[in-house]
Symmetry: C2
Subunit: 496 residues, 2 copies
């Protein structure tokens, strides 16, 4: 190994040391840290993040990349250098003063968002959003002046995805979903979620979800499960992949499906190839592919009829007396209720993508200057009525519900819908070689996990999302599989 | 505030960010981290420690100190600069190559120590100890060529303490302790610790100790209690002071007295004056003073007759049935059993200081070249026989029992005995203004905590240990109070 190559890998280890420290500090803040110490903790995180940022924009890194790039042959080195260079460019192209001003604006906007949502008053947030949009347009032009600003932003979260690609699939998907939703509204089947809402102790919920996590192959020797308020998965290092969950003792669905969802993210991170561990390629390749893994386990496995056929009796051994007498069909229908609702994060798997499309259409229009920030609430409500048939009573339940825009995260939302589509495409493909339903019903998840590892997980960031999709399924982005899956599943449940 | 002053305080914040990250990574390793991730974690800690070391020896720091020192007036600034300069000198005076070689030797020696202890074979460790002693002599000469090497090392852990000061008090203390031990051996009172050894669930032990911690004034909003193997207190920031403990379900003494001990350390850290929080003066002033606080709560409070008179009934509400029938006197005698034993960390409060004196005498003789490393096991055993009347069967139970020397920590042990003496001196002084026994019996610890805060805690490192001792008690190091306390307590228990 050349001197420069050794120096490059040593440099990556330095970055990873900061990343691990910062990730642990965040994990601790959200699971264990006593409240009085949080203010000083935020200072410490801020300082270390600044150091990590300096490292990623250092001349030392640039010199190593320039020296190694022309002659690099080894695939992992080539792709790692590309990853480092992308991060270097992304950070370096923003003038330091603008970066600083943006960070301050972001922090202020997030705090104003909290107030605006509480008061249901969009006008408080409006000037901040206007500034954030302006910054993001400017940053996008620094990053890539030859591409439309919104495409540049999409690429940050989902490399390779553009408005053109999304507009190829979203309209037809939207039409199918709204049609299906309309049919469901008219169905005489009315699932009763009330039967699920009964006291179910945290300890028993946890015992059941831990049993499922173990069956999924989540490695507790290389991770752990803790309580939190807003559940998340976080990777400290390739052998320390932690998940968190929240328990509602009056509604077990939050913890059961939430934990399995985070478990899906964690399986991805725990099964990235060993030889990528010490490189910038260790980690999920994109937001959307990551979400495909969590959604696969949450919906395609844990909300499936096969899963409950095989696990209902086991589930009952943990469940309280009041859940013992429920009829299987009533139970299965209730955990799959479809209902138009205001809040994205509470949406079912059918309406969820409609929530995303509203956000996508608004973001795109904003960045194309077809609408103004001031018009967001009005158009939000119009689209809610058009796609979901309901109109929020206040902006708190509408345009103000998500923190993303106040954090400057424009272009992020589409990843969620992409995750659903990818998951359906992977699910379809998996069924060509595995008898998925039988395996799920038998709780024999090992072959499923192995398939996901072989096809997806092991590659980390070494394959870009659309390249991975093509390699696994033989096709590009395709919403048909999601439509087919949802149509079949819900036609049966709602007797359409 | 001058530019340089602002820069200095900003620099201190940078140091604190690294310290907090490293402390959290250690805490996590010892309480929560999954085992598979530990190897990468050690790498990350190593790198960040190196960065922190670079910061503490940076030219930037030296320039700021040199600029500010001549004209600094504010007491906190003056003392903070002195603290920073001391750390700068300590780190800077060691040539980088020697520092690196020493770190590697230390790490190797600690691992060899584990093997040597397991096999009871001192010869494995001997060459490493010889090298470590040589390094420490050399380092001491770099730090201060005008003082004896061992005095330089003592000062690292207990500023102001010298062999001369220790030799003023240790021999008389040793004589009194061995005399008392001799009398106890001949007493007809034979406490039966067997009565304490009964199954006592971890949950109930924890409930009792948490109740005591709360009475002591440990602030759970600025700290937390977790399980670990080797209990410790760790300060992440002034408002995040964590303690850990270990439960033995067959012997509650480990967790009950251990938790109160760590709670004593934590009270010190939680009650350092607010205005020292963002300075290098935040933290206990020395190992010995710190230990005086933990020992005060563990022994002078929690092993006292007053404590159990006031808390025995409360304790029983947590204790299992088998402990309900115990006679108070039997119980009190059992938790205060005095018995010569081989292992320092298992020693009672009377024999503990004798274990320390053996180590001190050996270290002093080594650094004075009066003995060789090879002679340590033999002389260790001779002194054990002389002071405690027992001889370890193997070096594993003797000279190999502690990790300290393999870590190069020579001069550290005396702090433990100093902690006992300081605690007795503070205890004596406190009784001049507070009716300590009544307060302890009533569980009314607030005035005791307040006294410790006013007299000791609030000053952090702003007072050196002997300065603090003088200010609080009006005298210097004095072993008489410890002798008096032990004589009175154990004469009563053992009817001497």
């Amino acid at each position: 190994m050349s001197d420069a190559t050794q120096q490059y890998w040593a440099f990556i280890q330095e970055q990873k040391a900061y990343e691990e420290a910062i990730a642990l500090m965040h994990w601790d803040l959200r699971t264990k840290a006593p409240k009085a110490g949080m203010e000083q903790r935020a200072e410490a995180i801020g300082y270390l993040s600044q150091q990590a940022h300096r490292l990623s924009t250092s001349d030392r890194l640039k010199e190593l990349i320039d020296e190694l790039k022309p002659s690099a042959k080894d695939e992992i080195l080539v792709k790692s250098l590309a990853e480092s260079e992308k991060e270097y460019d992304r950070n370096k192209k923003i003038p330091e003063a603008e970066h600083k001003a943006y960070i301050m604006l972001q922090s202020k906007a997030e705090s104003v968002w909290g107030e605006a949502r509480e008061k249901g008053d969009f006008s408080l947030l409006q000037p901040y959003l206007e500034e954030l949009v302006a910054y993001k347009k400017k940053f996008a032009s620094y990053w890539n002046p030859n591409q439309h600003a919104y495409d540049v932003l999409l690429d940050l979260y989902e490399p390779g995805i553009t408005m053109e690609k999304l507009d190829d699939v979203f309209p037809a998907l939207r039409k199918s979903l709204t049609h299906l939703l309309e049919q469901i509204k008219q169905s005489s089947v009315k699932p009763d979620v009330g039967v699920l809402k009964t006291h179910f102790s945290k300890e028993q919920q946890k015992a059941f979800t831990v049993a499922v996590l173990k069956k999924m192959g989540y490695d507790f020797d290389a991770g752990r499960l803790d309580d939190t308020i807003h559940p998340f998965e976080i990777t400290l290092n390739p052998k320390d992949v932690r998940i968190t969950t929240r328990y509602d003792e009056e509604d077990f669905r939050m913890a059961v499906f939430g934990t399995i969802h985070e478990g899906g993210h964690a399986l991805y991170e725990q099964n990235i190839g060993e030889k990528l561990a010490a490189t910038p390629l260790a980690g999920g390749t994109s937001m959307g592919i990551h979400e495909s893994q969590s959604l696969f386990w949450e919906n395609f496995v844990a909300r499936s009829e096969a899963f409950w056929k095989g696990h209902f009796e086991e589930f009952k051994t943990y469940a309280p007396a009041s859940l013992q007498a429920i009829d299987f069909t009533d139970f299965y229908q209730a955990v799959n209720e479809v209902k138009a609702s205001y809040i994205r994060i509470e949406a079912d798997e059918l309406t969820y993508a409609l929530h995303i499309m509203i956000r996508y259409e608004l973001e795109k229009a904003l960045f194309k200057d077809e609408i103004t920030v001031a018009e967001l609430p009005k158009i939000w409500n119009q689209k809610m009525e058009e796609y979901l048939g309901i109109v929020p009573e206040s902006d708190a339940q509408g345009v103000l519900q998500d923190i993303h825009w106040s954090g400057g995260d424009f272009g992020y939302f589409p990843s969620y819908a992409l995750g659903y589509m990818y998951a359906a495409q992977f699910n379809k493909k998996m069924r060509e070689s595995l008898d998925t339903d039988s395996l799920i019903q038998a709780g024999d998840f090992a072959p499923i996990k192995q398939w996901l590892t072989d096809q997806i997980h092991q590659y980390g960031k070494a394959k870009k999302p659309l390249e991975l999709l093509q390699d696994v399924t033989g096709e590009g982005l395709n919403a048909d599989h999601l439509v087919t899956y949802l149509t079949e599943k819900y036609s049966k449940i709602y007797q359409l």
